[in-house]
Amino acid sequence: MLRDILHTLRPACLMLVVLSLLTGLAYPALVTGLAQVLFPRQADGSLIGKGGHVAGSSLIGQPFASSAYFWGRPSATSPQPYNAAASGGSNLGPTNPAQLKSVAERAAALRKANADGPVPAELVTASASGLDPHISPTAALYQAGRVARERGLPEEVVRGLITRRAEGRQLGFLGEERVNVLLLNRDLDSLAATGQNGGNRP
């Protein structure tokens, strides 16, 4: 038995080495090389911003608290919300009193800032990654009145921005309709910067 083990150990170790080089170095290196040529923007993280200045990634959500910005999903990352160096959800169960309490608090805050009545579910529940960049068009329109008021813009202008940023289901049937909150808020800021319609930055 011992002889069998010693006899098999050599190919076992060598096989591990060569397969490691193949799948652990050659494969990722080859994919990286091709990806950097074929899809350079995506391969580097879909970064946005001009020159050397990085303003974020179009795939990663950012926290917005000011009333003049659209708010995204609640984020349970720690210590600060939308911490891209520590993704994760709240992991609260549906019957946990702490969960029901935070949902009630978020709903009350949203009703106070926007309007009474039904609140979009994704605005009171934390996302899985804590970095969800999207809300539904419904949840964006729900906030349009507030944002327009805070910025001194006509509500149709704000609604127009939402319609322009809204993405349909991918290929017409996949996933959900959504609006990227960071990109939408950047639209608001560039509108203010160009001074159209007298909009002002917060």
């Binding site: 083990i5 992991n91 539904s136």
Partner: protein, 591 residues
């Protein structure tokens, strides 16, 4: 709310799976039988080179003990190297974010987890693994643990089709061919597709972005500081930057799904917008998880010379899968009545879900990832509704045979088929046969082992953890849900799945060590009995089919197989499930 588009997505998904698994199944049969195929003409030199370097004679046949020894030693070597790598990663190159070595218990758990195709992660990828570890450690085992599964399955198929021989093939050729001709080409294509959708693939590290609006937050004082001064207040802080972590993700993401591994680059796994940026990437990832396990059913049919046998196994898996999917999807669409009352409108459960996927694609992913032994998640399972969370738990507890892991799922299902012919044989008083081989005492014993070992792992592990303070102290949610977290953890580790009710703080000595042992026994104490079964079957004569033979390709047999899988699972786990998700569901309705 369920819409017709949801049904269309599901229908197209199943159609795509069906359409791709048939040709892939045939191709894999060609690869595993060593027949000529186009890729062998292109990469044949590499395959022969690998054998030469390792001093392996690819024509030499092994008996079941040699095969098992080669399989086991290869994995032992993999464990040792990975453990070392995790311990010393801080001193090695390709570490742009300065990760340090893992603690011994965490490194033990992680190494065990990745060699066993479990990918249970007691660490979070963001702050525990360097790029070198992700590639040379974790990605490698994503490949070879899946290839090991295919190899063991192939040996079992040879045991069924060969007669009066001890020879089961050569582990090294099965390993190399599975890696080189099946996993690598698929992973290569998928990783580029994922990168196109937005998954990063770079050796550069973290980039700091300036936030559009600075965020004010509080840093809670540490537990130790609070002990000395309970009056400590949280410190206010302000963040103006967002650290965006990057790395060679697409290459790892692809094999993570294809090999039913599930170990994510990030803590949030496939819910992270970098790991799974769009609905299309989500569609491809779900397809990738199911593709090889489904296609192997056809490979089985081709290799045993009766395609209907493969269809029967695929049918049983699909029937179980659709039943559980319906329950999970329904429960998640209903959401929680308490939250509906607060927000003033009925809504699906969105806690722990990403908006781009919504309820349907999250429920579908949760069902797929636990029907197979993948364990990648695009939704936080801990925040699923009680019945929505029961589905992943039960799918794992059934022994990961509903599609299951790459290779391991099908050999588990074949074991259940053997048990089914045994049970049917008892009913009519005839010696049971499967595919022309008599099933006798030794085969039945090996099959029982394969089924029983993970069951013991789940129940004994859970029992041990709830009896200790360290085990109970790790739970995040109160009451029945807390028990579910522990039950889920051991269901996952003992069936080599790797997903979690992630509120559980599993990075402590108890979960790391006990979990590591459970993962190891469940993987190898099933793979080795399967090889013993294969060896015993190979030595038998073929019995001619007679009037009394139970045909194993019929819908009747398929129904019987489904029933046996469900009854074994139900008898074992209903008491435990009653204490966790079932009681929580009643509490949610009764509140």
């Amino acid at each position: 709310m369920t819409t017709s588009t949801d049904f269309m997505q599901l229908g197209l998904f199943l159609l795509a799976l069906l359409a791709l698994s048939w040709p892939l199944g045939g191709y894999m049969a060609a690869v595993l039988e060593g027949r000529n195929h186009p890729l062998a003409r292109i990469l044949g030199w590499l395959e022969r080179g690998l054998y030469r370097v390792c001093g392996v004679d690819p024509t030499r046949e092994m008996d079941w003990k040699e095969y098992a020894l080669a399989m086991f030693l290869f994995n032992v070597a993999g464990f040792a190297v990975l453990y070392l790598l995790l311990r010393v990663q801080g001193l090695l190159p390709l570490n742009p974010d300065g990760q340090t070595g893992m603690a011994p218990d965490l490194a033990f758990n992680t190494a065990m987890s990745f060699i066993t195709n479990t990918n249970w992660q007691a660490y979070s990828g963001e702050n525990a693994a360097s790029h070198l570890t992700q590639m040379l450690g974790l990605t490698v085992h994503n490949f070879v643990s899946a290839a090991t599964g295919i190899a063991v399955l192939t040996a079992l198929i040879r045991g069924l089709i060969r007669r009066e021989t001890r020879e089961l093939g050569n582990f090294w050729t099965d390993l190399v061919r599975s890696t080189l001709y099946i996993l690598l080409p698929l992973a290569f294509v998928l990783s580029l597709a994922l990168c196109w959708q937005g998954v990063p693939q770079t050796f550069r590290g973290t980039v700091n972005a300036t936030l559009a609006e600075p965020v004010v937050y509080e840093i809670a004082p540490g537990a130790d500081a609070l002990k000395t001064d309970p009056a400590l207040k949280p410190t206010p802080a302000i963040a103006t930057q967002q650290a965006i972590m990057r790395g060679p993700m697409a290459s790892q993401e692809a094999i993570k799904e294809l090999g039913t591994n599930g170990g994510g680059f990030f803590n949030a796994n496939s819910a992270h917008p970098f790991e799974n940026p769009t609905p299309l990437s989500n569609f491809l990832e779900m397809l990738a998880i199911l593709l090889i396990p489904a296609a192997l059913c056809h490979t089985f049919g081709r290799m045993v010379g009766d395609a209907r046998q493969g269809w029967m196994l695929l049918g049983a898996m699909t029937a179980l899968f659709l039943g559980f999917l319906a329950l999970c999807w329904w429960a998640e669409s209903q959401g929680s009545p308490q939250i509906a009352a607060i927000i003033g409108t009925p809504a699906g459960n969105m806690e722990g879900k990403e908006l781009r996927f919504g309820v349907m694609n999250s429920a579908l992913f949760a069902t797929i990832t636990t029907a197979t032994s993948c364990g990648a998640v695009n939704t936080m399972h801990d925040s699923l509704t009680p019945l929505g969370g029961l589905v992943p738990m039960v799918l794992m507890q059934l022994g990961e045979v509903v599609f299951g892991g790459v290779g391991s799922g099908l050999y588990g299902m074949v074991v259940f088929a053997v048990i089914t012919v045994f049970v049917a044989g008892l009913m009519v008083g005839r010696t049971p046969e499967y595919l022309g081989k008599k099933i006798e005492a030794f085969e039945t014993k090996m099959c029982s082992l394969v089924i029983m070992v993970p069951l013991f792992g789940v129940l004994l592990g859970t029992g041990w953890a709830v009896l200790t303070g360290m085990g109970r102290g790790a739970v995040a949610n109160p009451g029945a849900h807390g028990f579910s977290e522990i039950l889920y953890a051991f269901s996952s580790m003992a069936n080599n799945n790797g997903s979690a009710f992630a509120g559980l703080s599993a990075n402590n000595a108890l979960y790391n060590l006990l979990g590591g042992i459970v993962m190891c026994t469940s993987r190898f104490w099933t793979a080795i009995p399967v090889l013993a079964l294969a060896g015993s079957l190979a030595g038998k004569k073929a019995v001619p089919t007679g009037a009394g033979t139970l045909p194993t390709h019929t819908p009747l047999f398929c129904g019987l197989l489904v029933a046996v899988v469900l009854v074994v699972g139900a008898l074992t786990f209903i008491p435990a499930l009653a204490l966790g998700p079932i009681v929580e569901h009643l509490q949610m309705l009764g509140r």
